[in-house]
């Protein structure tokens, strides 16, 4: 396989927080705690997890919108960890982001033409105005907006169209990678499908890499090549899409997949659903050893003591590079 365009190595993002009301103590919130992965050209890698698991923080740290506490982010062979704003600026044209709330991420006082043109004008101030306009119109056409709407304002558009504007703005510089942070979770079901198909098309046409952050496992199954499951800032499982969905190895992934309702009454009636007990623990005070052990059905003494490393399966049946972080993995999966 070719060199990855993005390599993340043992990334940690910790935030200092105050605990307690009057006699505040300093504590550390470990939003991302040692995540490593590679993203290849033209690949869609999804990051799934529940709210508060650190998936959005991970996306921002990868783009260096947030500085990581430890670890490395290597972009096209260049270590960009801790780059100041100025040094990052030229690289920004190659890495873009799309946000969850489509309307809130657009400036209400700019026309959509100005919004979409802004990255282009910022990075290439020498391009003449009429050329900018031509490129904006071309981009609007690509994402399915009528180019004659160029002078309208964001509030005149529906949620799905606003997300198209966000995508056009991200795409206008022809980036190599786009971080999509829950891009469809604020949209209606019939519009979600339109946006997912658009992202899929753009990815194929432009050879784009996507880091797709989502909590929705059904959508992730559609858009990704590989899927990474995170829990409390730690990677639980990372595998090729089909391997992860057809034969999940980590008890958390198994529970997540079984919990997704399927729109089929017969399947729902006969499905064995693994219901996890309790809630996500606080990332300020995560459990010792394996972070998932407090909700795990199989946890024992070892899980309490040692943090399980992310290990590649070396079985002949394992497909591709299937990584799991669980002490009991072999035991659990030989049971059935």
């Amino acid at each position: 396989m070719s060199e990855p365009i993005l390599k993340v190595d043992d990334l940690k993002v910790h935030f200092p927080v105050d605990v307690g009301t009057f006699f505040s103590k300093k504590a550390t919130l470990k939003a991302v705690d040692g995540v490593s992965f590679e993203l290849h050209e033209g690949e869609a890698l999804s990051v799934v997890g529940e709210s508060g698991c650190g998936k959005s923080t991970l996306g921002r740290a990868v783009l260096q919108l947030l500085h990581n506490t430890e670890g490395q982010v290597v972009w096209m062979g260049e270590n960009i960890t801790g780059y100041p704003v100025k040094a990052m600026r030229p690289l920004r044209s190659e890495m873009q982001i799309i946000f969850q709330d489509p309307l809130a991420s657009l400036d209400p006082r700019m026309t959509i033409g100005e919004i979409i043109a802004e990255p282009l004008v910022t990075h290439n101030p020498e391009i003449p105005k009429d050329q900018v306009k031509a490129r904006v119109r071309e981009m609007m056409d690509i994402v399915g907006l009528l180019p004659r709407m160029i002078n309208r304002y964001p509030h005149e558009f529906s949620g799905g169209q606003c997300q198209r504007i966000g995508i056009a703005r991200a795409m206008i510089l022809r980036p190599k990678v786009i971080v999509c942070d829950e891009p469809v979770s604020a949209l209606d079901v019939s519009i979600q499908a339109q946006i997912i198909n658009l992202l899929g098309e753009l990815q194929e046409t432009f050879g784009l890499s996507l880091l797709f952050i989502s909590h929705d496992l059904s959508i992730v199954r559609h858009i990704s090549h590989r899927v990474m499951v995170i829990y409390l800032g730690n990677v639980m499982e990372l595998a090729e899409k089909d391997a992860l969905y057809n034969a999940p190895r980590h008890p958390y992934t198994q529970a997540l997949i079984s919990a997704v309702p399927v729109p089929d009454p017969d399947k729902e009636a006969h499905k064995k659903r693994i219901v996890l007990k309790g809630d996500l623990p606080s990332p300020i005070n995560p459990p010792s050893g394996c972070v998932f052990r407090t909700r795990c059905l199989y946890a024992d003494h070892q899980c309490e003591q040692e943090k399980p490393p992310l290990t590649t399966l070396n079985e002949p049946t394992a497909k591709g590079n299937h990584q799991v972080a669980c002490h009991k993995q072999a035991e659990i999966n030989s049971l059935d």
Binding site: S158, S218, R221, L280
Partner: protein, 337 residues
């Protein structure tokens, strides 16, 4: 089975500066005791407003006409004092956002006991004991300690459980759940759905589940009602809707759902266009601008609801052709097998 809720010709309108808006038009349905009804639709389809009208919770500029007979009384005509004897007692509602529906200034204990003291005339102590038992029932650990906490001290899933516990305090005969799990993570959603399912089985409670998630409906409901542009476009049993959808919108919705099972090699089916604006509905059928089968008649006339069996109806001019297509498809599928 006796009928618990009978809604006939319910209409909900809002006066807005831009003129009158019809949020729900000519809604008819019945719900039997111990059954659950799923109400599906996109945002703005009017699904919530039907039940806000039934609960007497419409915004000030809203008006309702029609009938909603619950245990022999037409809820739409009851004065507030009478309605308060029903709401929270035999008819309860839980909302999508548990944070905004709990009072942030009051401890959970106060918000729970209030209901029992008011409606059941219980003493404080007795009411508190019952509240703690109810919190335990919905799966809140250390309920005895947690009952004295404020809403912000609970996580999202726990808050939704508190909401459900409050709604269930007086053991209602009918629970209306408006997107009860939309704001929650899947693992928490699974817990809440299990809880609702058990309540239905064990207490014989009837449930109305308002949601946009067809997966939730498939697992929870007996009957389904599909809404579009303020009207009911299709009703049927859960099997009829999922296996033999007859309205093009229902069919499109089912196909456009990304599924965790099934084939993922192809693009998702996407219904073209945008959901309608209730203030400027298209002429004729509200779905016609997005419908591939739309004819001149669809653009001219609002389709009436065609009833097939007692609970099976479709509002579409082209339904006869669609039924034929469905049958052909079934035959083809059987041949292929």
């Amino acid at each position: 089975m006796s009928i618990i809720l009978d809604v006939q010709n319910l209409n909900t309108r809002f006066d807005t500066p831009e003129g009158e808006v019809s949020a729900a038009n000519n809604i008819n349905f019945t719900l039997k005791k111990g059954q659950s009804l799923g109400v599906v639709g996109e945002s703005g389809s009017g699904k919530t407003q039907i039940f806000m009208a039934i609960m007497g919770l419409l915004a000030k500029n809203g008006r309702t006409s029609g009938q909603a007979i619950f245990q022999g009384q037409n809820l739409l005509e009851l004065p507030v004092a009478e309605l308060n004897k029903v709401r929270g007692v035999s008819l309860s509602m839980i909302f999508q956002d548990p944070m905004t529906s709990l009072n942030p200034y009051l401890k959970v204990s106060r918000q729970m006991t209030e209901v029992l003291i008011e409606h059941r005339g219980m003493g404080k102590k007795e009411a508190l004991e019952r509240s703690i038992r109810m919190l335990e029932l919905v799966g809140i650990p250390e309920a005895r300690k947690r009952v004295y906490m404020y809403p912000h001290e609970f996580s999202g899933g726990m808050r939704q459980r508190v909401m459900i516990a409050i709604a269930l305090l007086c053991e209602p005969d009918l629970l209306i759940a408006d997107e009860p799990t939309t704001a929650l993570d899947v693992t928490i959603q699974a817990q809440i759905l299990d809880l609702l399912h058990n309540l239905k089985e064990e207490m014989g409670m009837s449930i109305v589940m308002i949601t946009h998630d067809l997966g939730v409906i498939a697992g929870m409901c007996d009957q389904v009602m599909v809404m579009y542009g303020g009207r009911v476009v299709e009703t049927g049993t859960v099997h009829e809707i999922f296996n033999d959808a007859r309205h093009p919108y229902t069919q499109g919705l089912l196909q456009s759902m990304p599924r965790i099972d099934g084939d993922h090699s192809e693009d998702l089916y996407a219904i073209p266009g945008q959901p309608p604006n209730l203030q400027a509905l298209p002429s004729g059928c509200a779905f016609q601008p997005r419908c591939q089968l739309a004819s001149d008649q669809c653009r001219r006339e609002q389709p009436g609801s065609i009833t097939f069996a007692s609970e099976r109806s479709v509002a579409c001019h082209r339904v006869t052709e669609i039924i034929e297509l469905n049958q052909e498809e079934t035959v083809n599928r059987e041949v292929a097998l």
